[in-house]
């Protein structure tokens, strides 16, 4: 009977606090990960918005090709003039 009471005391004073401590640590870590993921999602959304003008680079390439051709013609004309 005395050993049973000792077991009860160990269960209440040691095992239960350890279980609570470990589960609380897991819960805090999970909530921290959740908050961090929220920040990452916000950054991802901002990156998507910032990358919006990237599609206009196709126009930039076209303009660069036209500019290159114009510079070549202009250079040839200058070569004849000077």
């Amino acid at each position: 009977m005395i050993l049973w009471w000792i077991g009860n005391v160990v269960l209440i004073a040691v095992i239960a606090p350890v279980v609570v401590f470990l589960l609380r640590a897991v819960l805090v870590s999970a909530r921290t990960v959740e908050r961090t993921l929220g920040d990452i999602a916000g950054v991802g959304g901002a990156m998507v918005v910032d990358l919006g003008p990237v599609s206009q680079l196709v126009t930039t390439v076209s303009l660069a090709s036209e500019t290159n051709a114009g510079i070549t013609r202009y250079g040839a004309a200058l070569d004849e003039l000077l």
Partner: protein
């Protein structure tokens, strides 16, 4: 039933209830993580799609710029010679006269990096508003309508007139071969 057995049963039930409560909270947090990860994956996919043409565009731009540079350089060299071309370029562009080993002027052409931390609410609150409004290249405060990636306005210098203006036949003090 002895009192020791009753205490044991009560303690075990309490421990089980605590475990169940914590596990439910953890499961709820993990569900939130799962949803947020879905959002992140969607954003990353969108970024991958939007940045797909960048490699082709950069290659094409480099090719075009290389061609243009070669055309202009060969034209200049054919008119004033290689040494004269370097002197002419140095006379009209002070940055070109700087030695290549000097990192000072070259740093002025570095692209401005985007600070994505601004999207984080916690970081945005921690950062002072004035710090994000200062132009890193000039150190001057930005105006309200100027975006961080907006290029600086180009101002024409009266000391650098267009070469050959006024009907002169000299460029940068060098005679031109006809």
């Amino acid at each position: 039933m002895t009192p020791a057995a009753v205490v044991t049963i009560i303690a075990v039930v309490l421990v089980i209830l605590v475990i169940v409560g914590f596990l439910l909270a953890i499961a709820r947090a993990l569900v939130g993580i799962d949803k947020t990860l879905g959002t992140v994956i969607d954003a990353v996919g969108a970024i991958a799609v939007k940045t797909e043409p960048v490699a082709y565009v950069v290659d094409s731009l480099n090719s075009n710029l290389d061609n243009a540079k070669g055309t202009l350089s060969s034209l200049l060299a054919s008119k004033v010679g290689a040494a004269g071309a370097a002197q002419l370029v140095a006379s009209v562009d002070p940055l070109a006269a700087t030695p290549a080993a000097s990192p000072g002027p070259a740093r002025a052409h570095e692209p401005e990096r985007i600070n994505y931390k601004r999207a984080s609410p916690a970081v945005a609150e921690a950062e002072p508003a004035s710090a994000a409004r200062v132009n890193p290249r000039t150190g001057t405060p930005r105006t309200g309508t100027q975006s961080p990636s907006e290029p600086e306005p180009v101002t024409e210098s009266p000391e650098r007139p267009f070469p050959g203006a006024g009907g002169e036949t000299r460029l940068g003090g060098l005679p031109i071969k006809r």
